[in-house]
Symmetry: C2
Subunit: 434 residues, 2 copies
């Protein structure tokens, strides 16, 4: 084994072409530093699982093992536990979806569902349309399958349907094969935006006209702060939409239970792809989720999460309003985990990151959420994990860092800012970036 | 959604090229029938998890959640829990491996490790060498990545190193790119064969001469009936061998915790691929395994499994000896889950399967373990799951079915056997076939 500092890899010439996109970013080492307790991390998208009642869960899991251990500890169906798939229908009913349990495939988190969909649909060079910005973990999957990712503008109302249609027309004219439109209409990661119903219909109209498969990612749909639940696009269009769901934010991310709901023919392919990838999802995790949904007050727990995140969002937004230098703008999320910040003209969020971490605050630079170099002046702040007082302190530190950048800029011009050369953000996300 | 009988798939023209290999075999419906309680299934490779102490596990898991719930329920490292990776070193020490925890990647079962290795190494058309026969679930992965699979002869001593070298030379001459040699040296699935140490060295010599990456799959290594543990190939060759391990047969398959140990550069790629595939493995499952290894008598439990499987193997072999018609031969496994049966000349195991299921016994036809149509006269019998008396009854039924085939053959010749036309065995395994 190479144990020397250079870590020369003798296998380098033997890898698949797709492996060339598998490179770690130097930004990772910064995140390693950012995980130290003295740093306020506004970077990670970790749910606040501390809000769960551990005693209640422990008792429930123990009972489940005693009563159903022979099933929980055994291989199961590649498509997922049949009873859990029925329960997932009940969860999806909350966002307006009616479906058949036979069209649900349970996966190791919805990230795996995303991987399977791309595996089934995309050859190298096929186009996937995404919002600007889009979820870094999805971009990683599209890149891993050597897709061409094309951004479509989004604004306060979410993905712009006119821009979408123009982009489709242009790409079709260029002879490109567009395979998927990947979209997060509710409480967008990273943009913190929710698309209103009429806009969703307009996007669906474009999708229908061009027979575009829409991949709707909806991990945050039940986490709206006003108690309202946005109606999923899949609720109005069962044939054109593949819907990704997850228990990571509504129960617990450590269980790794997500799912995809797909039209029947696609579902068949997805099951075969899933069996090739992992044989079957964990019965242990699935039965834990199933038992939780049946015996614990899951709607009430989601309400607890919602209230927790609402307080934290308020702490973030209120403190930004007080302290962030003029010229900084941000989105006002009505649910979910994130606000998207645009810095004053001239500041590069990626170049600023080492100085922010040095000042004991972390965020994710905007460029990670684009494939084309956009996002230099933007960044993502998460308010899901730190407590409100930590968020206040984190924003205070961040505001100080931005002030300093502005001072340098005003005094000496753009060349004064030390632009540390850094490669693109990791093609695949560090898990704490979800 | 298509709900009609024809299940026409409107997306059929939109899939990736690799999806064409994702087709379900009609044999699946037979296995659905075979899962009925009146059928003795000698088909599935399900471990006998009933041998576990459920009360002890329930108490252990509950304690783990109470004490470490905030970690168990949270996202974790994409590479896997650091402490579990240390414990995995201890497990691998049993097969003679010494390694660094930094080179271990924890996966959702070792099937996912297999998927990731192929993802990192293989472009479409690249060659993977496998034994004849080989594990059906691995063949499914190689096909999913559009590899060319080439069988290398194996015999009582396992993979033949001379045939291996000849095959490599021939393929290199043909300009083929050989990426991996996939091998199961201990208690082979499906062949039930264990390769002796000197043969392993000869195979490693060939691998070194041709800079061939060896993918050693070792889920059964600790399940030897004589209490001896075969030394892993990886123990003698850390640079050339990627080692796949699993807790599915030593603890419980429903946890879906496996791993890959790889040379450092490869490991880096594997972690990035894993993060793209599932973000991170389940902390819930990982901490359950970790807690089990730390607080439960895992070596004693493996001894219980070994004794259980030994009794069942004896029931299988003894009854075959008594009842199987002359001309039938089989391998004598010294560990693991399987015996490989060769039927009397002229009998087709796949064509016979519907009649066997009709007689309430199931097995896996041999053709599933080859990519090239070999295996018609062979089949795999598993003795891991049914109790000894059920195994005796299953073999009695199977012997009766073979007798009937022989009678028809003797009286009317080969055309008398109803050769139901069936497509190739599923490209991906039904989970109960592992």
């Amino acid at each position: 084994m190479q144990q020397d500092g250079s870590r020369l890899d003798p296998w380098i010439s033997r890898y698949a072409a797709r492996a060339s996109s598998m490179t770690a970013s130097e930004i990772r080492s910064l995140f390693a530093v950012a995980s130290r307790p003295e740093v306020v991390s506004l970077a990670g998208g970790m749910p606040y699982v501390q809000a769960l009642d551990l005693d209640m869960l422990a008792d429930g899991f123990a009972k489940m093992i005693r009563e159903r251990g022979a099933t929980a500890l055994q291989y199961g169906s590649g498509q997922g536990d049949p009873f859990l798939r029925e329960q997932i229908l009940e969860v999806m009913a909350e966002v307006g979806i009616s479906a058949n349990a036979d069209d649900v495939v349970v996966t190791t988190g919805s990230q795996m569902a995303l991987d399977l969909v791309v595996r089934v649909f995309c050859d190298p060079g096929d186009v996937v349309l995404v919002e600007s910005p889009s979820y870094v973990g999805a971009l990683g999957v599209f890149r891993a399958y050597e897709c061409e990712v094309v951004h479509v503008p989004m604004e306060e109302q979410g993905l712009n349907p006119i821009a979408l249609e123009e982009t489709v027309n242009r790409l079709v004219k260029e002879g490109k094969k567009i395979k998927l439109l990947y979209t997060i209409p509710s409480y967008h990661n990273p943009a913190g935006i929710t698309q209103p119903p009429e806009r969703r219909q307009q996007v669906l109209d474009v999708a229908r006209r061009h027979q575009l498969a829409v991949l709707e990612d909806d991990p945050y749909g039940l986490l709206g702060f006003d108690g309202k639940v946005p109606r999923a696009m899949r609720a109005d269009e069962p044939n054109q939409v593949l819907y990704l769901g997850s228990f990571s934010k509504t129960i617990a991310s450590g269980l790794r239970v997500g799912w995809v709901l797909a039209p029947h023919g696609v579902r068949e392919k997805l099951v075969l792809a899933a069996e090739s990838a992992v044989l079957c999802p964990s019965n242990f995790s699935q039965l834990a989720v199933s038992d939780y949904l049946q015996n614990q007050p899951w709607r009430e727990q989601i309400a607890v999460f919602r209230d927790t995140y609402k307080l934290r969002r308020d702490a973030l937004l209120d403190t930004m309003k007080l302290l962030m230098p003029a010229g900084t703008t941000w989105t006002v999320p009505t649910g979910g985990f994130y606000s998207w910040v645009t810095l004053p003209e001239g500041i590069d969020s990626r170049a600023m990151l080492p100085r922010a971490v040095n000042s004991l605050v972390a965020y994710v630079p905007g460029t990670g959420f684009y494939v084309d170099g956009q996002g230099k002046g933007e960044l993502r702040l998460s308010y899901c994990y730190p407590t409100p007082d930590r968020i206040v302190e984190g924003v205070r530190r961040l505001a100080g860092v931005v002030e300093q950048e502005l001072d340098l800029l005003a005094t000496f011009g753009p060349d004064a800012l030390p632009h540390t050369e850094m490669p693109n953000f990791a093609n695949t996300p560090a898990p704490n970036v979800r």
